[in-house]
């Protein structure tokens, strides 16, 4: 088998190197440096995507089943979101912060790779599997970026990051909603109910509520709060969204209620 977790380190380190150089170059002023930073980050993404495609092909199934595999996608989407934010709004720090978050998940996979069996269990044999999981993980990465913006915004006592966070949350909310609702339709096909308040679903509902709260807070800010009194509340909501989605993603597995979850596929 050409592509396996055994050679992950090679692709991971190459990508990390390209992303790190790109993040450093991004701090230098000038259009050439900006283009170079974008190009290096994109090259790192291409290397990383090559590994995922290779792994997908050799496993004979999409690598989306276990925590280790979702970490793979999260680090990819985290850097892709960072690249997109840098390209659109030119925050020079975003590549470094995205790199730190992505690197944490890559290092966890390098240290604890969670090498898995070959096939996908019957419960996961569905056309909804890939769109449901990838949409969720992509939204997680966007909320990861908005979380970083919230930290910086609170630290610098400025509201300048909120318009960008609005866009990230706008896109993230679409993917989060799509992930959740495609999960509902899939659950109906698999278990007979659209929503069963399974522990994972409960945390997903809490995360969705927090996202909607952010959107409503920002609407309220536009209408009745021109002085930006809700800025701290909005940044806090972004932090809460990030914490809740960590719970929804893997934190729920460490709770006593996890034993009742229908979303446990790793055992």
């Amino acid at each position: 088998m050409l592509f396996s977790w055994n050679i992950f380190w090679l692709f991971a380190l190459s990508s990390l190197l390209l992303w790190a150089v790109g993040a450093v170059v991004a701090f230098r002023r000038g259009e050439t440096c900006r283009r170079l930073a974008l190009g290096l980050t994109l090259a790192g993404l291409a290397v990383y995507v090559a590994f995922i495609i290779g792994l997908w092909t050799s496993l004979g199934r999409p690598p989306l089943r276990t925590l280790g595999e979702t970490r793979l996608w999260y680090s990819l989407f985290m850097m892709a979101s960072g690249w997109l934010v840098y390209r659109l709004w030119r925050y020079r720090w975003i590549l470094s912060f995205s790199l730190i978050v992505a690197a944490v998940f890559i290092i966890i996979n390098l240290v604890h790779p969670d090498i898995h069996d070959q096939s996908l269990m019957p419960a996961l044999q569905s056309g909804w599997f890939v769109p449901h999981v990838t949409a969720y993980i992509f939204s997680y990465s966007l909320f990861g970026c908005s979380f970083l913006m919230a930290l910086i915004g609170l630290w610098r006592h400025t509201e300048v990051y909120l318009p960008s966070a609005d866009r990230l949350v706008g896109i993230g909310l679409f993917f989060l909603t799509f992930g959740m609702l495609s999960g509902c339709i899939w659950a109906k096909q698999a278990w007979g109910d659209y929503w069963t308040w399974d522990p994972k679903e409960t945390w997903a509902a809490a995360t969705w509520c927090a996202c909607l709260l952010y959107v409503h807070l920002r609407l309220k800010a536009d209408r009745t709060d021109p002085k930006g009194q809700t800025t701290v509340a909005a940044y806090t909501a972004l932090i809460v969204i990030f914490l809740l989605l960590q719970m929804c993603w893997y934190g729920v597995n460490f709770l006593p209620s996890a034993t009742q979850s229908m979303h446990s596929y790793t055992q």
């Binding site: 019957p122 044999q125 799509f178 096909q189 007979g192 509520c209 927090a210 209620s257």
Partner: protein
Amino acid sequence: MKPLHYILTSLFAGVLLQVLCGGIRPSVVAFPLNVSIIFALLATLWVVEGEWGEKTAVRTFRSPRMACGLLIAVGIWCVLGGLTPQMPIPDDATLLHRFAAFWGLNKFPTSYPFVVLLLLLLLHLSLVIIHRLRQRAWRRDVPFLLLHGGLWLALVGGMAGSADAVEGRIIVARQAPTRSAYDAYGREITLPYTLRLTDFHVTRHEADHSPVQYEATLLIDDMPQSLAVNSPCGVRLFEDLYLLNYFSEDDTDQADAVLLLMVRNPWKPAVLGGILLLLLGTGWQLFRLK
């Protein structure tokens, strides 16, 4: 009254009901009571919005501040429910577990405080939608109506559906046909059709021989039908059969019997409609982002 007062008062009423009555049995609002309540609620809110729409109380109830308060309350209740194992309290339960059970958190989806919060959310959504419709502003704000209307429909379908849905487990064997399903309390449900297993097949992965798919073929009133995991079979309008498990005496892939789940839910189209409207609304909103 401020939004916080509405929410806290309702929550207090919910907690009081929970302490006095225990959890809710959804079947108490089964058809036709649920449909009557929905129509009465909508008609009342339509009149309230038309007659007293500009009164402070009504404006407060449909305000974004109310939406924020409700989202925080529902979110907090979900977090508390997510932290609490969803099971009846055992005899050796810890003090913390007993305290959580006192609030209904160990069965939080059917606890009064949570249902009261969802009803409040439903009222808020209804008022917001009726307000927009009465203003005839729907043309300029289609995504708003799609999003709020979708959530309203999904909530109504889910809540009313839990009252009207019937679920039963059926063991279907090769030897003799059956027409009995059993609900969660072991009560028999007689099916208007017979079921018999004729074939069962396990598809295995070529490399490691792990199961990839289970597929059963049944005779439903002498008509062959196949069903598999993630691929239920619709037997009647709003009634589907799901393959849950199989039984084999000699541990081979040849099953002697299969365990099926029968789900009868007339509110299925309402929930699906709500989901599709929500998807359309969020997609539309994304399209409008610049």
